[in-house]
Structure formats: C-alpha cells, structure tokens
C-alpha cells in the first residue's frame, strides 16, 4: 500500500516511470475487466488504453478516499460503459418471470478456466453482457444499474435474466461436450 501511495505521488508529478509501474501493477486485472465488457481483445485493449490515459491525466483528482486499485477499476468500468453506451439503446426485452425460480443447488463453475467463461460472456448480446457484468460480478443492484444506464429497473432485470439463461445454456452445453469428450 505504501509503495502504491508513493507511486501515485510520483505519478501526480508526471513521473513517467511511476506511471509505467502503476500500469504494470494493474493492467493485467483491468484487462480482464475490459474483456468482460467487450466483444474482442482488440476492443478490450482500446478500452484499457483509453482508461489509463484518463487515469494518468486525472490522477491529481485521486484523494486517497479509496484504494488506488478501486479508483482505477471505477475508471476502467466507466470507460467500458461509455464505449458501449450507444449499443445500450438496442436492448431487446424478454419475459422476466419465465426465468425465475431456477434451482441453483448443484451449480458450479469450478470445472472452468476463467478464459472459457470470459469467452461465454463475450458471446452474450451487448446489453445483457453489460448488465450481467454489473450485477453478477461488480455487485451492483438492479436499481443502481437502472440509474447508471438510464434504463428501467425492469429492463435491467429482464436483461440479466436473459444473460443468465444464455450462460446456463452455454455452461450445460460445454459440460455435455466435455462429458462426450471424456467418453
């Protein structure tokens, strides 16, 4: 933590080496975040680049209220959301009730590598991919998502429900295929 604080102070003075160290420290985890919100690696790298430019240009505004990691992640997510914003207008609506009350008792992802799951998320349609990320992984409530994306809470729930259904299907399919391969 002390090292991070020192690096931040040096970054505030425009120290290029400190900037590089901050980047090295956080780029790998943030790259995964970017990939979760985008459809391809190329798009994810663009978001990562744009986010870190914003981070270094605005690092003087970081007051240490949260950890630097949390502050960086917030900027990365905001950048990702902004880059996807235009696509959010194309949300298709689905029936919320249809997918409720699923039995999650034996659900497990432990058999999967995160890159396999990442590929599944990337294959989701734009709108529900974003809402899935915000709800399931970042931990936002539907109310917060609705306010943030300027959509209704119902839309957020619909989209999440849709994402969840699609991912379940993909996981089941993958499990079936692995089982077939094992036989």
């Amino acid at each position: 933590m002390e090292i991070e604080k020192k690096l931040v102070e040096q970054c505030k003075k425009g120290d290029r080496k400190a900037q590089q160290e901050i980047y090295s420290l956080f780029c790998k985890s943030m790259y995964v975040v970017c990939q979760r919100y985008s459809k391809s690696q190329l798009e994810a790298e663009d978001i990562l680049q744009e986010a870190f430019i914003k981070i270094f240009n605005n690092i003087k505004q970081y007051r240490g209220d949260s950890t630097i990691g949390a502050w960086i992640k917030r900027i990365v997510i905001n950048t990702a959301l902004n880059s996807q914003r235009s696509k959010l207008y194309m949300f298709p609506m689905t029936d919320v009730e249809a997918l409720e009350n699923e039995n999650e008792g034996d659900f497990s992802l432990s058999k999967f590598h995160f890159k396999e799951l990442l590929a599944m998320i990337q294959s989701l349609p734009e709108g529900c991919r974003i809402i899935f990320n915000l709800f399931a992984i970042e931990g936002y409530s539907h109310k917060e998502i609705a306010a943030r994306l300027e959509i209704s809470e119902g839309t957020s729930k619909s989209q999440y429900s849709r994402a969840k259904g699609l991912l379940r299907n993909m996981i089941e399919l993958e499990e079936k295929m692995s089982y077939e391969r094992a036989r």
Binding site: K17, G139, H142
Partner: protein, 481 residues
C-alpha cells in the same frame, strides 16, 4: 427476481483475481498519448497567460481612459476668470471685465447690464440672470457686470468655444450644490459659437424657466471634450526620449526539427554507438522541451527622426525558460547533476551518465541584449500607437538546468570554449506600442513584442540546434527630453 445467489457468487469468485496480459503496444500508446496531453496542457498554460496579458492590458488601458475622462470631467478646475463670471453676490460685489475685452463688446454688454439692473430694480420682476459669453479661440472674453471692476487674467483660454452662463446671487458653494448640469437643456450647456458670431442670449436665457427661478449663480461645468485625448500634440518631434521598461511573456526554445529532434543525443553523434540502450533506453523520449516563461528589464532611448518615424535602442537583461523532463543525470562532478543533453562541445563521455527516475527540470537562459529598431507612428495623440521592427544582438551569459524537485544539483553552462551556445546571436524583433502621454514629457506604453532568433543560439559544431522565439508584453515609461 431474487437477488444474488450461488450463481452470481460463483461468477464473482472466478473473476476476482483473474489476470491477463495485454499486448505491449497498449502501454506505448498510453505513454505517447499522455506525453502529448502534457505538452498540450503546457501550451494551453502559455496561451492562457498570453490571453491574460492581453486582457490585463486592455483593462489597464480602459482604466487609463476612464481616469483621463474623469480628470477632464471632474478634476480640471474651472478657471473662473477664463471660463465663467465671478458671481454677483447679494452684497453687491460685482465682477469685472477682462483687460483684453474689446471696447465694442464692452459697450454692448454694458447696455445689456444696465437694462438688467433696471429690470431688477422693479419689484415685480424676478432677478435677471447675467450672461457671460466667452469666445475662446480669439481670447475674446466678455463678461456682464454692473460694475466695471477688472481682474487680471491668469491664463490662456481653452480652444473650445463655449458659452458659460451665470446668474446672480448666493455663494458659489450653494450654487454648486443647487445647480445640476443635468437640469440644463444640453443645447444650452454645450452651445458652440462661430468665431464672430454675435448672439443676444438674454431673451433666450430669460425664457428658460429653470434658470430664472433658481436665482443663483450657475457655473456651468466645462463640458468634457473627449477629442482632447485624440488631439494632435504640439510637441516637437525631434525629441529624444529615455525610458525604462519591463515585460513578461513566454519562451519557446524550438529545439524540434533539424537533426536533433527531441532526442537527448544527435542521431549522427559518433559516440552514440557507445550508448547503453539496455540501461538508458528511455532516454530518447524524455527530452521534450515545452515553452515556459520569460521576462526582461531594459533601459531604452530613442529619437523621432521625423513626425512619423522613430529609432530606438537600449540595453536589456532577459531571462528565458523552458520546461523539460529527463531521466539522466551527469556524474562528472561529486554530486549527480541535472542532465538534459550533451552541452559540452569538446569532450563528452556517455560513461558519465546515470539513469534516474524521470524528473522535471527548468532550462533557463540569461542574455544581455542590445536591440535597435525602427518604429512607425500610426497615430500620435494623447493616446497613440506605433509599430516597430528591428534586430537585437543577444550576448549569452549562461544556461542553467535546474531540477524542480531539488533532488539533483543544478548544471550551469557559461560562455566559453566548451559551451555549445553562441556568444552572440542575432534576433529579429517585431512589436508595437500603445501609449498615453501627458504633460508633454511623460509617456507610458504597453509594448507587446515578438522575437525570433535568426542565427540560432547554438554553435555550428554543437550537437543540437535551437532557434528560440518569445512573446513579450511590456510596460514602458518614457521621459521626453
């Protein structure tokens, strides 16, 4: 829809510590973009200061204008023996006629005065005002009075031809408070006459009810003549002048371009092959210089060679600065010194360099300049404007590299054999002045100027080139001899 459950927790756990390496080009593009943004911010700061300077000078000029206006309007005392009549108070003390009044006019006025006095003596009549008519340009001042007591005249009359009105009774203090200029019809207050125009104003004044009822002395304030500011001065244009000035502005070292580029070393330098790229590889992109401040002080003198042309020269001390970042220090001396680029013409060894964390530095140059310029006066009133251009010989004093964090020792390069800087470099100057003059002898001027080095400030054999330019906004005070 239920809130978070096992499904969500599983996903969250999987991605909590997930990491993946992005390609190297992401960092290189971030680095380039951040450097560009920083340079842009620096440029914006300079632009901001330029605008600030321009706005400040505009405000100062406005203040000078308002002050001048107020001086004319309020502070110039009315010379009563020139512009107005002495009041005829209740005790019967009366004004006289100026000695240079013509006898013809006197006779005419006396006739009118007698008529007025006659009217005043009649109980039913309201007091009658006295009228003074001033014909300024031929110094023909006529005053009405019941007595012919004269007063010595103190000075020449104004050029403007105005009529000043005066009524009798009360002290002048009372009059000043009672009589407002605004209460007069402007046509009366500012009435101008032709030189030989003779008008009998009495009937006209009598018809002005306001004046008649006041029954008091009315001193019409001298009407402001804004054209005063723009009147031709009757000064001698072969005047010499001496002055002092100071200015501030921005300085751009212009080290971009040429074979040097923005790199620490000249690409063709023979010793570049010895450079250890593994440990000092980032050196080349750290030496971008951006513009910073400049200021100067000077003593000037000049001469009007004709009504429109002036020549001026002087001696000027100037300090110019630019900002840069570096990740190298020089270890030639005991303590590590700031290093930006090789500034030693004769001997230089890469082994003297050490890599360091990137630090910001201030690169300052000090010069003594001897400018000579020719100016053309666009207009010359109390407020005037001229444009000028010329040359300046700049004598190099020193170049100082200063670490702004104070971590490393400053590096000072003085004039001499090893210095890469020319002992003298020639600059082209363009500028102008907006000035205000008063009392025939004093001038205050704002002089924006731009200068660019024609020869460059570096020697031929130096391994980098710099053709700096600077923009100044100065304040100049001149005394006309």
């Amino acid at each position: 829809m239920s809130e978070r459950g096992k499904f969500e927790n599983e996903w969250r756990a999987i991605f909590e510590g997930a990491e993946d390496q992005p390609s190297d080009k992401v960092w290189s593009e971030i680095k380039a973009e951040v450097a560009t943004m920083e340079a842009k911010k620096q440029r914006n700061k300079v632009v901001y200061w330029r605008w600030f300077g321009a706005a400040a000078s505009a405000v100062i000029l406005m203040m000078v204008g308002v002050y001048s206006f107020n001086s004319f309007y309020n502070n110039v005392p009315i010379k009563r023996d020139q512009f107005s009549l002495e009041s005829e108070n209740n005790s019967g003390v009366k004004n006289g006629v100026t000695p240079d009044s013509s006898s013809e006019n006197n006779h005419r006025v006396e006739e009118k005065v007698l008529a007025i006095e006659k009217l005043n003596k009649e109980p039913d009549n309201k007091p009658v005002k006295q009228v003074k008519r001033v014909l300024n340009n031929n110094k023909d001042e006529v005053k009405t009075s019941s007595s012919k007591k004269t007063k010595p005249k103190e000075g020449a009359l104004s050029e403007s031809k105005k009529i000043t009105l005066l009524t009798t009774n009360n002290t002048e203090e009372d009059n000043a408070s009672v009589v407002k200029k605004e209460s007069m019809p402007s046509s009366i207050a500012t009435m101008h006459t032709n030189e030989n125009m003779e008008v009998d104003y009495l009937p006209f004044i009598d018809s002005v009810g306001v004046l008649a009822q006041l029954n008091t002395d009315i001193y019409m304030q001298q009407v402001v003549d804004l054209t005063e500011l723009f009147k031709h001065k009757n000064k001698k244009h072969n005047n010499l002048w001496a002055g002092l000035s100071m200015g501030g502005g921005s300085f751009n070292p212009n080290v971009n371009g040429g074979s040097f580029g923005n790199t620490v070393f000249e690409s063709t330098a023979s010793n570049l092959s010895a450079f250890d790229y593994t440990s000092k590889s980032v050196a080349a992109d750290q030496a971008v210089e951006s513009p910073s401040f400049a200021y100067n002080f000077s003593m000037d003198f000049g001469k009007f060679v004709s009504r429109k042309i002036i020549i001026e020269s002087g001696v000027e001390y100037a300090k110019y600065s630019s900002q840069a970042s570096s990740n190298l220090t020089s270890n030639v001396n005991q303590a590590p010194e700031v290093f930006l680029r090789n500034t030693n013409v004769n001997s230089f060894s890469l082994s003297d360099l050490q890599t360091a964390n990137t630090y910001q530095l201030l690169n300052s140059y000090e010069y003594i300049s001897i400018p000579i310029s020719v100016g053309y006066v666009l207009f010359d009133r109390k407020i005037g404007m001229l444009i000028s251009s010329g040359f300046s010989s700049d004598l190099f004093l020193n170049n100082t590299l200063q670490d702004q964090s104070g971590q490393y020792a400053s590096s000072v390069q003085k004039n001499g054999g090893d210095s890469p800087f020319r002992p003298i470099n020639i600059n082209a100057l363009v500028g102008g002045e907006i000035y205000y003059s008063w009392n025939q002898n004093y001038v205050i001027a704002f002089d924006p100027g731009y200068r660019v080095s024609l020869t460059g400030i570096t020697k031929q054999e130096a391994n980098f080139k710099s053709h700096p330019s600077s923009f100044f906004l100065g304040l100049k005070f001149k005394y006309l001899l």
